[in-house]
Amino acid sequence: MKSEQQNIISGGIIALISIIVYFIIIPMEVKLKPDAKVGPEFFPKLAVFTIGVMALIYVIIQVRNLRAAQVSFKDGLMFNVKEYTAHIIFIAMTVLFLILTRYLGFAISAVLFLISLLFFFGSKGALKNIIIAVLYGITVYYVFSNVLKVRFPPGILGI
C-alpha cells in the first residue's frame, strides 16, 4: 500500500501548495490592476484553482483506495527518506559547482565537477576519470566559447 500512501502525501502536498499560492502568494506576487476587465491575477488563479481542486479529488480517491485495502497510516509510514540521499548530495554538488564557477571560472570548475561526478556515479579508475574529465571539459568549453561564441565569466586564471 506504499503507492496509495505516497499518492495521498503527494496529492496533499500539491493541494496545500495550491492553497498557499492562491491565498498568499498570488496576492503578494501578482500586481493587480483594479480597473482591468480581466486582470493579471485571472489566469494564475484559474490554473491554481484547477490544480487545487484536482489534487483534492485525487487525495479523496486515494484515501478511498487505501480504506478499501483496509490499511491506514497508523500501520506505519512506508516512506524512506534515505532513498533520496544520493539525489540531495547530487543537487548540493551542483549548487557548489555553480558557486565555484564565479571564482574559478567555468573551465576549471567544470573539470573538477566532472571528476567528482564520475566518482559519484560509480565510474571506476581514478586516472581514467581524470583523463575523461579534462579532455571532455576542455573540449566542451572550447566548442561553446570559441566556436559558438558563448561568453563565460572568467575565473582566477582568466578562463
Partner: protein, 496 residues
C-alpha cells in the same frame, strides 16, 4: 525568370558545398542543447553575407532543416531535446534508445524529418499565397480556440490517470504565468528577481524536466548498476526496416500537414506543432496505449511535423514579409542583405528568388537524408557508453546548454529547480508531457483569451460569434468528451 533557369544555378559546386555544410552545421547546432535553430542560423549569418545569393540561401535553408532534425539526436540518445521542437520526439525516442533501439529511433526521426520537410515544401510551393490569406484571418479568438484544442488534448497523453495529467498540465500553465503580464506588463511571481521578468526560460524547463529528472531517476539505480556495461540490441531489432517505415506514410503525411499549417501561424512554432501532431497521431493509432513507451509512430509524428514547420513558417515570411518566429526573422534579414525583399511584391517582381528558396528547401531535405544516414551510426554509439560515464557528461551539457541560451547562470538554477519538480512528479506517477505542453502554449493561450475578452463587450460570446473560433472551441469540447469516455472505457475494460 523560369524555374528551370533557377534550377540550373544550383548545379554549382559552391552551392552544393553550402548545402552540405549548412545541413552538417545545423545538425550539430540543433543537437547541442542551448543552441536553438535560430542561434545556429544566426551564427552562420555573418559567413553567408560574403557568399553569392544562391549559395547563401542554400546554406541557410540547409542549416534550418539540419537544426530541426539535430534536436532529435540528443532527445533520442540522452533525453535532452536539443531544440524545443524536439521535446515531443523524446517521449518515444528516448524509451526506444533505452530498449537498445537508438539507431532505429534515429533512422525513424531522420527519414520522417526528410519526408515531413518535403511535404512542408510542397505545401509551401502550391498554397503559399492562399494559406497566407487564411492565416491573416486568425485573430485572438481563433488563436485561443487553437490553443484550447491543443490543451484539451492533454487528456489523451495523461497516461494511466487523467487527474494526474490535469494536475501536471495545471502546473505547466502556472509556470507559464511567471514574468511580466502579457497584457498590462505588471510583474507576476518574479519575487523581485529581474531574471524572471521574461518568464521561465523554456530550455530550463525542457532540460530540467526531461534530462535532469531522468538523471535523478537513473541515480536511484545505485552506483553498481550504473557502472554496468549497457546491453546493446542485436542489429535486426535496432534497424528500421523499409516496410516498417512505409507503414508510417499516413502518420507522416498527417503530421506534416499539421506541422505546415501550425508553421504558417505566426508565433506558435515547432514545439506546439510537434506535440499536436504527436497527440493527433496517438488518437488515430490503434496502438494509442503504447505511445510514450518507445514506438516509432510517436517519433515519426513528432519529427515529420517539426520539419514540415520549416515550409509553413516561410509562407507568411515570403508572401507577406511577416516573420512568424525568430528563425524566419533572421532569414528575412539575410534575404534583405542579399537584396531580396520578402512581401507580396516578391511574387510579382522577383519570382526567381522565390524559386531559389523553394529549391533550396527541397535540396536541403535531400542533403539532410544523406548527411543523416552517414551520421546515425556515429551518433548511436553514444548509448554503448556506461551510464556512470555518460550521465555526468550529459549533465555538463545540460548545464552549459541552459547557460548558453541566455548566458545566465540563473537559468541553470531554474533548470535545477525544474529537474527536482520533474523528478518529484515522475516519482509519484505524474506524467511530464502535459506539463511541458501546457507550459509551451500557456502564455499564448492566456494572452489570446484575455485579449479576446477585452476586445469585445459581449465577453465569452466573442468565441462563438466568429465561425473559425467557434469551430475550434466546439472541436476542443467534443474531443474532451470523447477522450474522457474512451479513458473510462479503457479503465472498465482493465478492471473487467
Amino acid at each position: 525568370m523560369e524555374i528551370s533557369e533557377v534550377l540550373g544555378q544550383f548545379v554549382d559546386i559552391s552551392v552544393i558545398i553550402g548545402l552540405f555544410a549548412g545541413v552538417a552545421f545545423g545538425i550539430i547546432g540543433g543537437a547541442l542543447p542551448g543552441i536553438s535553430p535560430s542561434m545556429t542560423i544566426a551564427l552562420l549569418l555573418p559567413v553567408t553575407l560574403y557568399l553569392p545569393t544562391i549559395t547563401a540561401i542554400a546554406t541557410l535553408m540547409g542549416s534550418y532543416q539540419g537544426a530541426m532534425f539535430g534536436g532529435s539526436v540528443s532527445a533520442i540518445l540522452i533525453n535532452t531535446p536539443g531544440t524545443a521542437s524536439a521535446a515531443a520526439t523524446a517521449l518515444d525516442g528516448y524509451p526506444m534508445a533505452q530498449k537498445g533501439q537508438a539507431k532505429r529511433a534515429l533512422q525513424t526521426a531522420l527519414y520522417s524529418s526528410c519526408l515531413g520537410g518535403l511535404i512542408g515544401t510542397i505545401i509551401l510551393l502550391f498554397s503559399a499565397q492562399f494559406l497566407a490569406k487564411v492565416a491573416l484571418k486568425f485573430g485572438p479568438p481563433e488563436y485561443f480556440g487553437l490553443m484550447l484544442l491543443s490543451l484539451t488534448l492533454i487528456a489523451g497523453i495523461s497516461g494511466k490517470s487523467m487527474l494526474r495529467g490535469i494536475i501536471s498540465g495545471g502546473l505547466g500553465l502556472l509556470f507559464a504565468t511567471v514574468g511580466l503580464d502579457p497584457i498590462y506588463g505588471s510583474t507576476r511571481f518574479t519575487f523581485g528577481n529581474i531574471n524572471l521578468y521574461d518568464g521561465i526560460n523554456t530550455l530550463s524547463v525542457f532540460i530540467g524536466v526531461f534530462a535532469l529528472s531522468e538523471i535523478m531517476i537513473q541515480l536511484s539505480l545505485g552506483r553498481v548498476e550504473l557502472d554496468k556495461k549497457p546491453k546493446v540490441a542485436n542489429s535486426n531489432t535496432n534497424r528500421l526496416k523499409l516496410k516498417e517505415f512505409l507503414s508510417q506514410k499516413t502518420n507522416i503525411l498527417f503530421s506534416a500537414v499539421i506541422g505546415s499549417l501550425i508553421g504558417i501561424l505566426p508565433g506558435i512554432g515547432g514545439s506546439t506543432a510537434s506535440f499536436m501532431a504527436y497527440i493527433a497521431s496517438q488518437k488515430r493509432s490503434k496502438k494509442s496505449e503504447e505511445y510514450g513507451t518507445g514506438i516509432i509512430e510517436g517519433v515519426a509524428a513528432a519529427e515529420a511535423a517539426n520539419n514540415a514547420v520549416c515550409g509553413g513558417a516561410l509562407v507568411p515570411m515570403l508572401t507577406l514579409g511577416i516573420p512568424g518566429d525568430v528563425v524566419t526573422a533572421i532569414l528575412v534579414g539575410a534575404l534583405i542583405s542579399h537584396g531580396i525583399k520578402p512581401g507580396p511584391l516578391l511574387f510579382v517582381e522577383e519570382i526567381g528568388s522565390v524559386y531559389t528558396v523553394y529549391i533550396s528547401l527541397f535540396l536541403a531535405v535531400i542533403v539532410l537524408s544523406v548527411v543523416g544516414t552517414f551520421g546515425i551510426p556515429v551518433f548511436s554509439k553514444v548509448v554503448t557508453i556506461r551510464k556512470s560515464i555518460l550521465l555526468p557528461l550529459v549533465f555538463i551539457i545540460c548545464i552549459i546548454g541552459t547557460y548558453a541560451s541566455k548566458s545566465n547562470y540563473f537559468d541553470v538554477f531554474v533548470m535545477l529547480f525544474m529537474g527536482c519538480v520533474g523528478f518529484a512528479l515522475r516519482k509519484n506517477g505524474f506524467p511530464i508531457p502535459p506539463l511541458v505542453i501546457a507550459f509551451v502554449i500557456g502564455r499564448s493561450l492566456e494572452s489570446n483569451l484575455r485579449r479576446s475578452l477585452i476586445l469585445d463587450s459581449s465577453g465569452a460570446l466573442i468565441f462563438f460569434s466568429r465561425p473559425l473560433s467557434a469551430v475550434l472551441i466546439i472541436a476542443a469540447i467534443v474531443s474532451t468528451i470523447f477522450m474522457v469516455r474512451s479513458n473510462r472505457r479503457h479503465k472498465r475494460k482493465k478492471e473487467a
